[in-house]
Assembly symmetry: C2
Homo-oligomer: 263 residues x 2
Amino acid sequence: MGKLIFIGLGLADEKGITVRGLDAAKDCDALFMETYTSTLSAGSLERLERMIGKDIALADREKVEGGVDILDKSKTSTVVLLVPGDPMSATTHVDLRLRAHELGVDTEVIPGVSSLTAVPALLGLQIYKFGQTVTIPIPEPNFRPTSFYEKALENFEAGLHTLCLLDIKGDENRYMTASEGLGELASVENEMRKGLITEDRIVCVVARAGADDALAKAGHFRDMSGQDFGPQLHSIVIPGKLHFLEAQALVKLAGAPEDLIRD
Amino acid sequence: MGKLIFIGLGLADEKGITVRGLDAAKDCDALFMETYTSTLSAGSLERLERMIGKDIALADREKVEGGVDILDKSKTSTVVLLVPGDPMSATTHVDLRLRAHELGVDTEVIPGVSSLTAVPALLGLQIYKFGQTVTIPIPEPNFRPTSFYEKALENFEAGLHTLCLLDIKGDENRYMTASEGLGELASVENEMRKGLITEDRIVCVVARAGADDALAKAGHFRDMSGQDFGPQLHSIVIPGKLHFLEAQALVKLAGAPEDLIRD
């Protein structure tokens, strides 16, 4: 009997995988890596192949959503699908798992480190004080949704922090920068005028969470927007009501202005 | 110059650590492991010591909150504090990081897998549809807070899922079971009578997230309460409005009643 194992690769590069994930990858018959819902830094795939000692076939959107190759192999052998971050955060992977299950294929999930917890951790913000997570989409000529702004506003008014993930179109090699994301927030603010984004609003950016050169920065919107935070992936956090220790962390560890502590 | 590195051990046992975390642990001068905000399964510490090739000193609440030993060593050498799960989810670690910073000690955070994302993943629930996370406290004779119920109710009324972490008192070796947690929810329901918990309410339990024998189960409250889900750690999820794929996952992968799909 075959098996399909979803393994989270965690963050940044080949070193984000857990020991449990690495062991399972070494033991399997065939490896695929999903490349469109997130990404690792350049060269990670090759280094991961060396670590595992096996070739990894790339799986783009078509290959995962179609699933034919992966599911066919899973019927008779142990197949691993490697997914950057947590292996189940995109619905497409849940769908693939359900289809495997329908075919009578055993499935297993080996969780990975997710930016959903790593980004708050790097900023010193308490994960329990976050409301619903949003994604800021890459704007299209005739498509500019505003629901991310509305949800972030709701969180903010309830005193909660908002993690804003930035849109990824891996198939097109497009990864939104924090600067673009802050620009989108400002655009929607201009339209909606609800006061979520002001020049004085404290916003946070985490770049390359989990990498050796990870960056966590906080400051007034006017100072943060337009900054270059280096290579992607980036995320934005809009803090709600800050606990004293959180304010201290943003000032001491992420360079926020000192008056955040006094306020 | 010294350095203090916070490394997340991830879930379940010694295999939950990332390769990046393991490499940093191998390279450091002294290792501590925090043992009261969460825990790994029996024997994990010894296996972790063998994997790293170094002794690990246990750090209880006093040792971490006092911090003297850890901070003293960090002034002149590279010290690692190993923390089950994500290394920054308890405020006490943020506090320790700030104190190290005050002493001029460099700090670094190597994120770990957290139950906050692994539990939804194992159930096939979308992390983006969760509201604020709550913790159900171990009740004390004269202390039975109800805020966890109120927050979960708020999430539920907004259509959002709630992850209920279960209280851990590692220093006393007490880890709330799902059955106890469901009992607490029912007790507070009896008091508040807001209708969050009914006999028919679908609730989910994840036991041993990240372990080889992880269990994900969903069902009516009346069937789930009183069940034995095996060894801890356990978590509870109260689903809000379910997407079709989420309902399917709960039925097919977690044993929820079939009518969840038809509803």
